[in-house]
Symmetry: C2
Subunit: 217 residues, 2 copies
DNA sequence: TCAGTTTGTCAACAGTGTTGACAAACTGGC
DNA sequence: GCCAGTTTGTCAACACTGTTGACAAACTGA
């Protein structure tokens, strides 16, 4: 009953995801989306209460790209690590979406799928329920938080990023030694490699801590 | 020379910080700031190139509250932990500021001060330069990332937060067991305690990992 | 005194999300 | 077949946002 819908939640989400993929998350506005859909911008409000609601759905849609199936012969730690690395990489592509998704659990399809996979792997590693939950929260905070932090810089081209990291290192090196001895001494090692490398190093440290409190080691 | 300034960078930052403290970061707009200062909104642009520039300064100003001095008899790990917990708590109060500050190192006064303190404590713990840098990045990603994630919920009153956490736990418990066995089994332990508790647990796991790779343990 | 500079004011532009009135287009009941 | 009711897209408008360029006030150095 009622006027036949030319739009649907699914078609709007698809168009929004395409828009984000092609023009970045800043392009996801009611007016541009209306243009992409060939309809009035406010038509979207017939299917989503607010633009933020739509953004949540688009964010979860991007999480489809996270493959959580353990590979043959892959231990729990390797699988967990891979899921976290992929999760961060996906979140990283869309700065504001990462912040939105992570603000509260969306409890949408893909988020649940990833949660289940991480808890499953932690159980496989011999974590107690309590430790699995704590470890899950720790992994998510690090992976999603890291994405939220690194996203703005990840949006720059690789050459620009490397130049920036170099500049920062030099700035730490040039600090007055009297007040910043540790910074000067360490400056050479700060912001080394890519943000992804630094995240993986952090993840490995965290996984060390998690593993050390598991029963089966 | 020139018309005498009734405004200054410092007075604007102070007014902006007050605005944020009293009405939240969403209130930090050119027009509201102008109203608070008793001047035209665009006068701010004589002292800051963009509103984002001003926000960075306000963000760094909040970091003044982080006390990095080691207390008597406090080991490197305890000091490091305390700095991270405080840093997160300060960042947490102002959602968007956290995101802005963390997007790129501001290299403003207080950020440098905190960096120096963390590197100093890690050195005290016997970390090599390489390990200290990696650990520093890991700690910052976790602390600031966690703040960015938790900030929207932290803005709610405590009672609302507890209710939300309870609702989420129940939602995980009600998932179909066939597809979400681990989530259902762990549901009772998810979102337990406050977000601060969960962060501190994550921090302890990370510190375990960091410590295990230090020379002096 | 007068030119030059700084600094605040004002109007305006191009955006943003969102709302409420309206109309088109369908379905179920008579 | 027609009419009421419902859904759904359109349109104008509101209240915001950051930011710019022209202008004027108020000072300093020559």
């Amino acid at each position: 009953m009622g006027r036949p819908a030319s739009l649907s939640r699914a078609s709007i989400i698809a168009a929004a995801a395409l828009l984000v993929r092609e023009q970045g998350v800043a392009a996801l506005t009611a007016r541009r989306l209306g243009e992409a859909l060939g309809c009035d911008p406010t038509a979207v409000y017939r299917h989503f209460a607010t633009m933020a609601d739509l953004e949540r759905e688009v964010g979860d849609r991007f999480l489809r790209a996270v493959d959580v199936r353990p590979r043959a012969g892959e231990g729990w730690r390797a699988t967990t690590r891979r899921i976290c690395v992929t999760l961060r990489r996906v979140q990283l592509r869309q700065p504001r979406l990462a912040a939105l998704i992570s603000a509260a659990p969306t409890r949408l399809a893909n988020e649940m799928r990833i949660t289940e996979a991480l808890l499953r792997e932690l159980a496989r590693g011999g974590c107690s329920y309590t430790h699995a939950a704590a470890s899950y929260h720790a992994l998510i905070e690090l992976a999603v938080g890291s994405a939220a932090i690194d996203a703005p810089i990840a949006a720059q081209p690789a050459a620009v990023r490397r130049r920036l990291y170099g500049e920062w290192r030099r700035e730490y090196a040039k600090l007055p030694f009297a007040r910043f001895p540790a910074s000067v001494a360490t400056s050479d090692q700060l912001y080394r490699g890519s943000a992804g490398d630094r995240f993986e190093a952090a993840l490995d440290l965290l996984l060390d801590g998690i593993e050390s409190r598991c029963s089966t080691r």
